[in-house]
Symmetry: none
Subunit: 213 residues, 4 copies
Amino acid sequence: MRDTASSESRATRRRQAEVLGAAAQLFATRGYSGTTVQDVADVLGILKGSLYHYIETKEDLLYRILDEAHDELDAILAVARAREGLAPLDRLEAYVRDQVAYHTTHLPEVTIYYHDLDRLSPARRAQILERRRLHAEYVQGLIAEAQADGLIPGDRDAGVLANCVFATIIWVYRWYRPGGSVDQEQIADVCARFAVSGVCGDAEASLVPSAAA
Amino acid sequence: MRDTASSESRATRRRQAEVLGAAAQLFATRGYSGTTVQDVADVLGILKGSLYHYIETKEDLLYRILDEAHDELDAILAVARAREGLAPLDRLEAYVRDQVAYHTTHLPEVTIYYHDLDRLSPARRAQILERRRLHAEYVQGLIAEAQADGLIPGDRDAGVLANCVFATIIWVYRWYRPGGSVDQEQIADVCARFAVSGVCGDAEASLVPSAAA
Amino acid sequence: MRDTASSESRATRRRQAEVLGAAAQLFATRGYSGTTVQDVADVLGILKGSLYHYIETKEDLLYRILDEAHDELDAILAVARAREGLAPLDRLEAYVRDQVAYHTTHLPEVTIYYHDLDRLSPARRAQILERRRLHAEYVQGLIAEAQADGLIPGDRDAGVLANCVFATIIWVYRWYRPGGSVDQEQIADVCARFAVSGVCGDAEASLVPSAAA
Amino acid sequence: MRDTASSESRATRRRQAEVLGAAAQLFATRGYSGTTVQDVADVLGILKGSLYHYIETKEDLLYRILDEAHDELDAILAVARAREGLAPLDRLEAYVRDQVAYHTTHLPEVTIYYHDLDRLSPARRAQILERRRLHAEYVQGLIAEAQADGLIPGDRDAGVLANCVFATIIWVYRWYRPGGSVDQEQIADVCARFAVSGVCGDAEASLVPSAAA
DNA sequence: CATGAATGAGCATTCATTCAT
DNA sequence: CATGAATGAATGCTCATTCAT
């Protein structure tokens, strides 16, 4: 029973990971269009032509990075779905916290995700977008559920609110840089609380006094 | 009283605006790197070489679009600063509303702003970033003020919260498309309320009962 | 009796001279290929399109500069030819002196002459080369005459010697710069003496003693 | 004992030489500005883009041609410096002879050298000019030495005389064409004698009688 | 005379991709 | 697996020249 029975040997898989890692670093820094196949090969210490032993096209690199990243994102969604017996807003808070934690620890991947998805071929882009849609549905569902349960006001469009929640999650990649004064856990906390409070939208109540003063 | 005294004739200025408009449309759709000078010329119905009567480099197009857009953004900030006698959170709400209104009505410009700022030369990028910084300072200042006034809890980093507010504003360009079921004014309302409630962060209070129930 | 009877008015001719002067300056500095029509127009303070009121093609500028310069060069030849009753080497010396004087005082023109003659159309180049040939013939004739008269050794090819004489004259434009420590008259002297002594070629005779000493 | 240990294989080096040779041929004929990268590729029988495997910029071609040519020129200077125990004028004569021999056998290189040095970037031009300066110093030094030794009159500027010597050497490339009636060795002889006699400058002495006759 | 928009051909350079060795 | 030479299409930019106003 040789373990080469799997289609790819362990060494091969490691090399593939190195290739994707190098590409991810570069794509995140210079953008997909701004990165050349030569750049990737340079980082790996091989020649441009040799890189084509690992990929068929440059777009392959982009797709694989995005595909693998989405595997982890989908795992977060699966965990969230498995959290039963919790109130919708608590489930939302947990989901946002997990997402922000992922975003802060996978800056290159999410940077590429939000910057260069459009450089994917239509078919592949559609594939990724479909996976993303499931996340949107989940969050929008939680919000609609909270509205139905009377936990939050029902006068606002759940879809718009869901987008605001994702804004809170996603935008992290544009301002968070490791080594800052606020650590990752705190950031996940603040963002989760911001998002949940945002969908609650009862700020006016607390503000009325100050406005009335 | 002729206003032809200005160095550029009206026709010239109109043509310049057409050039920028065509470029903005394309940059927003295909990205700066994905748009060729040829593309822009094609839209204008002139030859590639002729376009160089209006620009010196392709980057000029990007810079001018961003520069003009920032003029409008800065006008929003000026208006916000002029709103005296309002509580900080009310000023924040008004600012967010204005910003979201701008974002929904200037999708091409803001798309370019958040996607291709890095394609600008270092000097020009720095110039834009400096203008952006003033906005960040303003919002963070409002939040800090609200914290100092005891209007919102002071246990969360004002900088992180400000980033969450900007997330709410900015992300709009990624999901809002004109002609949807929710109109622009409603969206500005929802986002403003989301952001203000988010910084208030008193969701737990309202949630505790439901969680305790 | 208007003086507009001449094909070009005085003002027109002055303007033409300005155009040629500006072009000559630029061609000498940046080379013909390295100078754009725009550059010339800029120096004149007009637009590129307007320059075409004075020229038909860019090559016109080159040709006219060269043509006018050759008028002066030919005048030097005419003067030389008129110097009768002088020994050939004295006539050679006078010719070299005049030529070097011209070269040091017309650096832009001669620079263009020796650098960019090949950018002329074949017909025009041939025309200039024909005029140049007359100079070569004259100098070669003087040398042959001196050889025939026994004034200088006859064992060396008169054509090669003539080329060496022209080398002495022409090369001046590559190293002479006004304002140096040696004035123009001295330079003309040194060059003339160098050339004449060179064709005499009796250095060995004078050196033998010193070598024998 | 394989010499393939060197970083470039023999085939690679040969190809590089072919590339430089093709470029040199073209630059000499049409000038650097007048030669396109396409032209060079055409001569090599490859596509324009493929040429960039051998060069980084078009200027690289120019620099390498000039750099390699100067290696040979500097070898001539080294040989000249090694010729001890000879009177200065004899050393000058030998140097001129060697130089002229090089010039007549390397017409393309020297043509480019004297025509297109200015198309080099400032840094690279300075580098070449520094190497050239050593030659000028050497020749001027010989002349000064001869003057100090009383071998030639000391009333003429050694710098100007050195320039005249170089004129004699350099100008060869403008009139010498292989296959003429005078062979290369004779030309080197004539030029060397012309230059040495020129710096001696005692033509008057020999002329006085003929003028007095 | 002068303007300035437009032309159209050309240029140096880049780059994803292929393939014989 | 890796090399490196070659492809071929595209890109940003230049520039001499034209011409309606």
